[in-house]
C-alpha cells in the first residue's frame, strides 16, 4: 500500500509514528534549535527528577525558560530517565522553574513527550495528584507567555501537568489523549488488543484536536514522519515557537491572563437548555 504525504492515515498509524524509536526527542531539539542551555536541577523538596528537565535557553534571539519531558534514546537512557514518566518531583521542579521565569520575565516553552505521569508507590505517597493539580492552577495565572509543544506522546495528566499555556502546538504525527489507547481498550473494550479502535474513538491526533479547538497549531512533519528528517522538523518547530512568541510582545500581563482564562473557559462541548 502506498501513501502520499497528505494521505489520511489511521489514528493507530499516528500512535505508532508518535512512539517510533527514532522519533526526535527533547535532547534532539535541544541540540538542533536551542543554544546556551543552562540546566537547572531539583525541586528543592526531594530530588532531581531526570524524567523532566529544564533551564534557561535561547531560541533564535529569544531567551526562554525551557521545560520538558526527557525521554531517552536507548534502554539505558530510558531507565535513567524513567521513559519520560515524571514523579511529583518532576512536576514540582517544572513549577519552580516556571515561577523563576515569571520573576525573570522571560517566556516559557514546554516540550511535551510522555506516556504519562509515573504510576508508582512513591509517586502516590509524595502526591502525584497534588503536584499536577498545583501546576494546572499555577500555570493558569503565570504572568509570562507560555508556549507548549507536543512533540510525541501527550499522555493524559502527565502531559497536561506542563501543558497549560497560551498557545498549544502539536507535531502532525504526535498524539494527545486522556488515556492511552491500550488503557482505554482494556476498560471499554475489555481487551487491550482493541487499542486501534480506541485510538480512533479517542480523537487523539493533532488534526482531530485542532478541529475540536483543543490545540492552536499543527506543525507539519516531513515525509513519513519527524524521524525521517531531524533538521527539517527542528526548523519547523523553531519557526513556529518564535512566530507564536512574537504574538505576545505587546500584550499586557492583565490581558495575557484574561485571554488564557477565556481560552480554558471555552474548552469542552456541552449543551445548554433554556
Amino acid at each position: 500500500m502506498t501513501k502520499n504525504k497528505k494521505s489520511i492515515s489511521s489514528a493507530w498509524d499516528v500512535v505508532n509514528i508518535s512512539r517510533h524509536p527514532n522519533r526526535p526527542i527533547l535532547q534532539d531539539y535541544l541540540s538542533l534549535i536551542f543554544t546556551n542551555f543552562v540546566e537547572l536541577h531539583g525541586d528543592r523538596y526531594y530530588s532531581d527528577d531526570l524524567a523532566m528537565i529544564g533551564g534557561f535557553a535561547e531560541i533564535g534571539d529569544q531567551k526562554v525558560m525551557l521545560i520538558g519531558h526527557n525521554k531517552g534514546k536507548n534502554v539505558n537512557e530510558n531507565i535513567e530517565r524513567n521513559f519520560g514518566m515524571a514523579n511529583p518531583d518532576g512536576y514540582r521542579k517544572a513549577l519552580r522553574l516556571m515561577k523563576l521565569a515569571e520573576r525573570f520575565n522571560i517566556p516559557i516553552v514546554t516540550i511535551i513527550d510522555t506516556p504519562g505521569a509515573f504510576p508508582g508507590l512513591e509517586a502516590e505517597e509524595r502526591g502525584q495528584a497534588e503536584a499536577i493539580a498545583k501546576n494546572l492552577t499555577e500555570m493558569a495565572s503565570l504572568e509570562v507567555p507560555v508556549i507548549c509543544v507536543v512533540i510525541g506522546e501527550g499522555g493524559s495528566g502527565g502531559a497536561l501537568g506542563i501543558g497549560v499555556g497560551d498557545k498549544i502546538l502539536m507535531l502532525s504525527n504526535s498524539i494527545y489523549s486522556v488515556i492511552s489507547p491500550e488503557g482505554c481498550a482494556s476498560i471499554l473494550w475489555r481487551d487491550a488488543k482493541f487499542a486501534p479502535d480506541a485510538a480512533e474513538a479517542l480523537n487523539l491526533t493533532a488534526s482531530a484536536l485542532h478541529k475540536h479547538g483543543v490545540i492552536d497549531e499543527i506543525i507539519e512533519e516531513p515525509g513519513e514522519g519527524a524521524h525521517t528528517n531531524y533538521e527539517k522538523i527542528a526548523e519547523s518547530v523553531k519557526s513556529s515557537i518564535l512566530r507564536n512568541l512574537e504574538k505576545y510582545i505587546n500584550v499586557s500581563i492583565e490581558e495575557l491572563i484574561q485571554r488564557r482564562f477565556e481560552k480554558y473557559s471555552g474548552m469542552g462541548k456541552f449543551s445548554v437548555n433554556n
Binding site: 502526591g127 493539580a133 495528566g157 497536561l160 486522556v178 479517542l202 469542552g268
Partner: protein, 275 residues
C-alpha cells in the same frame, strides 16, 4: 484516567430489598437503619455513597438551597462508540436513572447561616466522571462564588476524566483549575471535600487544590489505579494505600470528618474567614 468503576455499596439481592450488606465489614443492616445513619455502616463506620441531593439536604439549612446551572448537560461531540454502545445512550440512561443532568449538582445556600456556593458530584452518574458539562458547571459555580465573594465548596466523588469525551475531558482539569486560580487571587476560600472515590483526573485537578482538603473516613483517593501501580513496580502495596487516612498521614489532607459532623465542621472553619 477514569479507571475506577466498582460500586461502593453492594446491595444484597433479597426479595424485599430490606437489607443492605456493608461492603467493608459484610454485616447485614436494615435498609431503614442504613439510611437513618446517612448511608454509614453503624458497625464499622464505612461511609457508603450518597446522592448529590441527599448530601445537599444534609449540608444546607432548610429551604435555603438554590440550584444553579442545571440547564447544562452532556453532548456526544466525538460520536464515541465502544463495545457496549454509544456514549449518547450511556448519558441519556444516566440522566433518566438519576434525574440529574450531569455528574455534578451546583448551587448555593446557607450552612448554619453562612452563605456558600457548592458543587456536589454524584457517583451514580457515569461513575462521577469529569466530562465537559461537569467541568463547565464546576467552573460556572466557581465564577458565581468569585462574582459574589462567597466561599466555594466542592464535594468530589469521581473515577476521573470521562474517556468518552477524549481530550475534551482532560481539558476540564485545566478549566476547573483556572477557576480555582481566580478564587485564590481574590482570597476567596475554597474547600475541597474528597469522598469515596476521588481518583484520576479529578484528584489531579480541583479536588487536591482546596485551601482545606477534607475527606470522609476510608475514602479511596488516588491518582493511578492500584492494579496499574502493582503491575508497574511489581510490589505489593500497603493495605491502607490510597485511603483518606494514608493521605492524612502523608500530608495531603487537613482532616478526616465523619459525614454526620460535616455540616458543623464546614460552618465552623468558614467562621474563621475574616474578609
Amino acid at each position: 484516567m477514569a479507571w475506577y468503576s466498582e460500586p461502593t455499596a453492594v446491595k444484597k439481592k433479597s426479595i424485599e430489598d430490606l437489607w443492605i450488606k456493608c461492603k467493608k465489614c459484610q454485616s447485614h443492616i436494615y435498609k431503614s437503619e442504613w439510611e437513618e445513619n446517612l448511608n454509614v455502616c453503624p458497625s464499622c463506620n464505612y461511609h457508603g455513597s450518597i446522592t448529590s441531593y441527599e448530601r445537599i439536604n444534609l449540608l444546607f439549612d432548610k429551604n435555603t438551597f438554590k440550584e444553579l446551572f442545571n440547564n447544562i448537560s452532556p453532548i456526544d461531540s466525538l460520536k464515541f462508540i465502544d463495545l457496549k454502545g454509544s456514549y449518547k445512550d450511556k448519558y441519556e440512561t444516566a440522566i433518566k436513572k438519576t434525574g440529574i443532568s450531569e455528574s455534578v449538582v451546583t448551587g448555593h445556600g446557607k450552612i448554619n447561616g453562612i452563605e456558600a456556593v457548592v458543587a456536589v458530584m454524584d457517583f451514580r452518574f457515569l461513575g462521577g466522571s469529569l466530562g465537559s458539562a461537569t467541568g463547565e458547571k464546576i467552573l460556572q459555580a466557581a465564577n458565581y462564588a468569585y462574582d459574589n465573594n462567597l466561599p466555594y465548596i466542592v464535594f468530589s466523588a469521581s473515577g476521573g476524566a470521562r474517556m468518552q469525551e477524549g481530550v475534551l475531558s482532560l481539558m476540564q482539569m485545566a478549566k476547573t483549575c483556572a477557576g480555582i486560580a481566580r478564587l485564590n487571587k481574590k482570597n476567596i476560600p475554597y474547600i475541597s471535600v474528597l469522598t469515596n472515590p476521588t481518583t484520576g483526573g479529578v484528584s489531579a485537578s480541583y479536588a487536591m487544590m482546596g485551601d482545606l482538603n477534607i475527606s470522609e473516613p476510608g475514602a479511596l483517593i488516588a491518582f493511578a489505579g492500584r492494579r496499574v501501580i502493582e503491575q508497574t513496580i511489581g510490589e505489593k502495596l500497603p493495605d491502607d494505600f490510597q485511603t483518606s487516612e494514608y493521605l492524612l498521614k502523608h500530608g495531603f489532607m487537613d482532616s478526616i470528618v465523619d459525614r454526620k459532623n460535616m455540616k458543623n465542621y464546614l460552618s465552623n472553619v468558614l467562621s474563621f474567614y475574616n474578609r
